[in-house]
Symmetry: C2
Subunit: 240 residues, 2 copies
């Protein structure tokens, strides 16, 4: 009888994995995951049995991981936190009597924030702009209510070829509630190979360079830019 570990490896690469996540991957017999993610940690999985498939094979991958775990220890890996837009939910939905443990990781908005400065210091939300599994009307409603509530907003999956205008529309909705100088940060490939980032404002934001591997963070009404850092104050009254 084996066990299935659903592991968030963090932004990518070994160094931002938790010690527990690394240990669990190293002691597993079989590694299951999307090829690109397995590649990111290949130095610790190279001698192992691997079950890998392409994007959009999520259900098949999860069923296979559960089946394999009846006999052996299996690590199903995803980037970021396995519990935020990751594989933890699907595994628990499909689970029969297999033993499952969820190992959390650093989610993409935390990784992106650490590059930009400290944008997420107050109440904040994560919204995915992907409409593969959510109605676009519901997504827009969420963006509007988050903007109205003055949440710092992290947009996951901000742009893809199939829906090139969603990000622009989300920014327009947010502009109805926030000043034009509100900071906006974009991070591509946060804390992994190919990292790029820039900080701008709602007024000057252009979506051209944003892609699926980006996170877009929009500040709240108190966020500001200082010395190149995007900062949201926690609210301390400083003794200056």
């Amino acid at each position: 009888m084996g066990k299935l570990y659903v592991v968030g490896i963090g932004p990518g690469g070994i160094e931002h994995m938790s010690l527990r996540a690394k240990e669990v991957v190293e002691k597993s017999d079989i590694i299951v995951g999307y090829n690109k993610y397995i590649d990111m940690i290949k130095s610790i999985v190279k001698d192992k049995e691997i079950y890998s498939n392409g994007m959009k094979g999520e259900e098949e991958r999860c069923r296979e991981a559960l089946k394999l775990s009846k006999e052996k220890n299996v690590a199903l890996i995803s980037t970021g936190d396995s519990g935020i837009y990751g594989m933890a939910g699907l595994i628990l939905e499909l689970r029969g009597n297999e033993e499952v443990e969820i190992i959390p990781g650093i989610t993409a908005s935390s990784a992106a924030a650490s590059i930009l400065g400290a944008p997420l210091m107050h109440d904040n939300c994560n919204i995915s702009l992907s409409d593969l599994m959510t109605d676009y009307e519901d997504i827009k409603k969420r963006v509007k209510l988050a903007a109205e509530g003055d949440f710092i907003i992290s947009l996951y999956n901000p742009k893809s070829k199939g829906r090139p205008h969603y990000l622009k529309e989300a920014i327009e909705i947010i502009k109805e509630f926030r000043g034009e100088n509100t900071p906006v940060g974009v991070v591509k490939n946060a804390l992994r190979e190919g990292q790029e980032y820039w900080i701008t404002t709602l007024k000057d934001f252009i979506d051209e360079e944003v892609n699926m591997f980006s996170i877009v963070i929009i500040g709240n009404s108190k966020s500001f830019i200082k010395d190149g850092f995007f900062i949201t104050p926690r609210g301390y009254k400083l003794e200056k």
Copy 2:
């Protein structure tokens, strides 16, 4: 010339730190932090110079960390992610010309979620119920808009002696928008010594056992409980 690392150690203990966070702490000359947090990683800091003070000494602690980093390498540690309700913002607000790097960690809502199952699989938000630095009216407005937007809601600092009724009031606001069977999970001391958790529903929720070291997670309209796990579906149409 030294450098200041602002390090999120994750939920507590060494094993949920990232490899990078551990490495940075190990190579720093001086460790700065609240005594309780330093205690959680004492096995890797015991031979180091330590500057520690109590709760509510945040500004003094940050000023000291910046000053010390002019000469030596300093790690300023906090639990969770240093960038979410942590010390990253205050450091960057107070920073002059010191070199600063933010090292992200696993935030408390991710840690709590991994214990409960997979509650955060869709759009979600973090709200702190602490009114030390935020007006209570603003907090209630955010809870209402998050509930209206069908966000999964993670409540940080859900209860303290000075504001015993806020959590109850937040739950009442959420009930206006969600069904009475919506799952609610409470995790105390997630992934560290003293961990306890329970899963209930909006209807049956009682706040008695909740304290400052707890995270309370309220599901969205599609969340459910299965085999003791709190699950929010991502939206996959499963083949069954």
